[in-house]
């Protein structure tokens, strides 16, 4: 079995699969950790009980999501060695230290303070507990900093030299870390994480408002989430546009694939709205185009010439159909999110934010939109970097481990079975928690479990703190 399969293709499938599962959790927990810090800060500042109820409500969900992020993340950190050993040997001196710094500055910080954040409110007091929450939130952002720096270096390598063993080595660490695409990718991803979380929080709020418009918790969370969508979605679209221009400068072939430009357009390139890219024939079939718009977006001039993939050697083409479509899904969802934000702003102005049922239905439908947009965005940028792991310098086929196909196929099957079994259970548990609205005297993790009525967070203590604080 599997003898005829290509081990590299299987290794790529495995990376795509495990990465796609993993990215969902950090995208959610980066945003949720910050949201929890805001909720706890508002509780300490205003003393309003609704904020500690919301804090404990989302803390239980955070505990489950964070755990899934940790275990799927450990898989990623070892997969570089198991499936991509040639890549590890060649890029280890450059990328390895960035990941080591991620562990030292972020993972330990999150893990070290997580226990106190989850279970320690009445053991350490309000101020120290708030500090722990802030440390966990900061940790998630520092983690994004380093891993996006490492990923961006693979997209736009800078500050490196190549030694006698064929390894990349750092010539200038500042140039390695702050490589050309890094600032754009960092802003784009952190905003994406915040929007993703806001959409989930908004959907849960909307779900409960549909049944009862007067619930305090859902009203507060829905309002906060809609402010986020209103304010951040337009900024995100702007950030995405700037990221695209940066990609055009440093990875033109990726933009050609995103745009579906197989041919060069010397007198202004059309924006291909939809179509079926045909990689073999090197053209987009059934294309619906707006003349000159692509040149206007990318070059800010209607008649600016834009090169196509016909200027790139064929063996360096990224797979256009995937890149083209995932990009459109991401952009389409981005505009829908902005639409939700604008609709909520209108409802807020009319004073019907908590009554307008179509808005609540729309917000519920958009609950998973952030996750899909994040996945589509990552598929765009990673597929668009192909056929390289380090853009222009190290090919994907030269990066894989010297393993037989059956080994990679077996581990792939193992991960698929385990991930679906484990993570679907986790998602069910999260949805089950979301199905109940936050209530008066909401308790944190363990505190809410009947069998352990006075768990690590004694019920009485939190209720008194909640109403007194």
């Amino acid at each position: 079995m599997f003898e005829g399969w290509d081990a590299v293709v299987l290794a790529r499938a495995q990376f795509a699969f495990t990465m796609s599962f993993h990215i969902v959790f950090p995208a959610f927990s980066i945003g949720l950790a910050s949201y929890l810090a805001v909720l706890e800060g508002l509780w300490l500042w205003t003393g309003r009980e609704v904020f500690i109820n919301l804090f404990n409500y989302w803390l239980k969900i955070f505990a489950i999501a964070f755990g899934m992020g940790v275990v799927s993340g450990i898989v990623m950190s070892y997969q570089f060695g198991t499936n991509w050993s040639e890549f590890s040997d060649k890029t280890g001196p450059v990328i390895g230290p960035l990941m080591a710094y991620e562990v030292l500055t972020a993972f330990f910080l999150e893990a070290g303070f997580l226990g106190v954040m989850l279970f320690g409110l009445e053991r350490v007091g309000h101020k120290l507990h708030f500090l722990a929450t802030l440390m966990v939130a900061t940790g998630t952002l520092i983690s994004a900093f380093w891993i996006l720096s490492a990923n961006s270096w693979m997209q736009t390598p800078a500050g490196y030299a190549i030694n006698a063993d064929g390894q990349f080595v750092a010539a200038d660490w500042l140039k390695v870390i702050f490589n050309p695409s890094f600032p754009y990718r960092l802003v784009h991803m952190v905003l994406a994480a915040y929007l993703t979380t806001a959409l989930v929080v908004g959907a849960v709020g909307a779900f409960h408002l549909l049944r009862d418009q007067h619930l305090a918790g859902p009203r507060v969370m829905f309002s906060m989430a809609m402010w986020m969508a209103t304010l951040v979605a337009p900024i995100q679209i702007l950030a995405g546009d700037q990221h695209g221009l940066n990609t055009l400068e440093h990875q033109p072939a990726k933009v050609m694939a995103m745009e579906g430009h197989y041919q060069s357009h010397p007198d202004g390139a059309p924006l291909v709205l939809f179509g079926l890219p045909d990689q073999a024939a090197a053209k987009v079939r059934y294309a619906i185009e707006i003349p000159k718009l692509s040149s206007l977006i990318l070059k800010h001039s209607l008649d600016a010439p834009l090169a196509g993939l016909d200027t790139v050697p064929r063996e360096n083409w990224p797979p256009v159909p995937i890149t083209f479509w995932s990009f459109r899904i991401m952009v389409g969802l981005g505009f829908l999110i902005m639409g939700l934000g604008l609709l909520s702003l209108w409802a807020r102005w009319r004073g019907t934010l908590y009554e307008l049922r179509p808005l609540h239905l729309f917000a519920m439908a958009m609950g998973p939109a952030g996750f899909i947009a994040v996945l589509a965005g990552w598929i765009t940028t990673e597929t668009g970097r192909q056929p390289f792991t380090v853009y222009g310098l190290l090919r994907t086929v030269e990066s894989a481990s010297p393993l037989a196909a059956p080994a990679v196929a077996s581990s792939l099957i193992g991960f698929v079975i385990v991930y679906f079994a484990v993570f679907s259970a986790g998602v069910i548990y999260i949805l089950r928690l979301m199905a109940v609205p936050p209530h008066h005297g909401e308790l944190g993790p363990r505190g809410d479990i009947p069998a352990r009525a006075a768990g690590i967070t004694p019920a009485a203590a939190v209720i008194t703190e909640g109403s007194a604080g």
């Binding site: 060695g81 040639e86 280890g92 259970a425």
Partner: protein, 336 residues
Amino acid sequence: MNGIFDIATLWAFIIAFAVFVYVVMDGFDLGIGLLFPLFPGKTDRDVIMNSVAPVWDGNETWLVLGGGGMMAAFPLAYAVLMPALYTPMIAMLIGLIFRGVAFEFRWRTLSKRNRWDVAFAGGSLLATLAQGIALGAILQGVHVEGRHYAGGWWDWLTPFSILTGVALVVGYGLLGATWLVLKTEGTLRDKAYRLSWLLLFAMLVAIGAVSIATPFLHVGYAHRWFTWPNLILTAPVPIAVAGVTALLLRSLANKQDRQPFFLALALFALSYAGLGISMWPYIVPQSITIWQAASPENSQIFMLFGVAVLVPLILGYTGWAYWVFRGKVRPESGYH
């Protein structure tokens, strides 16, 4: 290559330290997973789980530091060993997934027979066996050609690697049992004492078996341990093992609270030192030395700043977290 104490040597000690801290910290928390099936009562299980719930994530982060640090400081070793240990590594990762999610999932399931308890125990066993097997596979050496692993994906499977796998299960079990002595009370603690006795004897058998088998793997190991003047360095190791064992037996007989756990850790430290003596200066035994595998100096120096500043800080706040959750765990009211 450039004298005894260069940066590569320093990094070998840093990685060894990270792996040791991992073994110490995740050892007891995998260990309680191994012992889980022996405590069928729900209340006992809740207490056992809560004794590590606030710290398990931090414990496991040392594994990520060990792996990530190795990729950064010794990329060639990471690139050769990971494919060589492919099957045990994948098994370990899958085991860690099952046990890691169980910490939260087991409180959320509605079913009476908690399948996440099974996942916790099974995942802990799989991960521990895989780590022990990986250790044995490294000690017995792997087939290297040029800068690549050149063996198959079942090369790791030998009687020796199975022996080290079982030995680690016994060892983590001892750490888990003595941890429970430290963190629990009443009948649960009494049972943990009985298990500690049993597992201590099993651990001595395991240490003996691995120590006897190792010199037969490669002439280099025998030479390292049994020739003069190396004996000055190596002979104290088994003597210290005997001494620590005597202290551990006494602390168990006197029903002491804290000593058994820390003496069990000392036993681990000595076994670990023994491994270090066998392997030095190879990172892939008998084929790649730490100097051959080392990153360029500027990578190692760049990370050294981070390690020097951050590791003491990490140990500080990790210690604080343990201190916050110090004391016995009780079923009715959590920590006290």
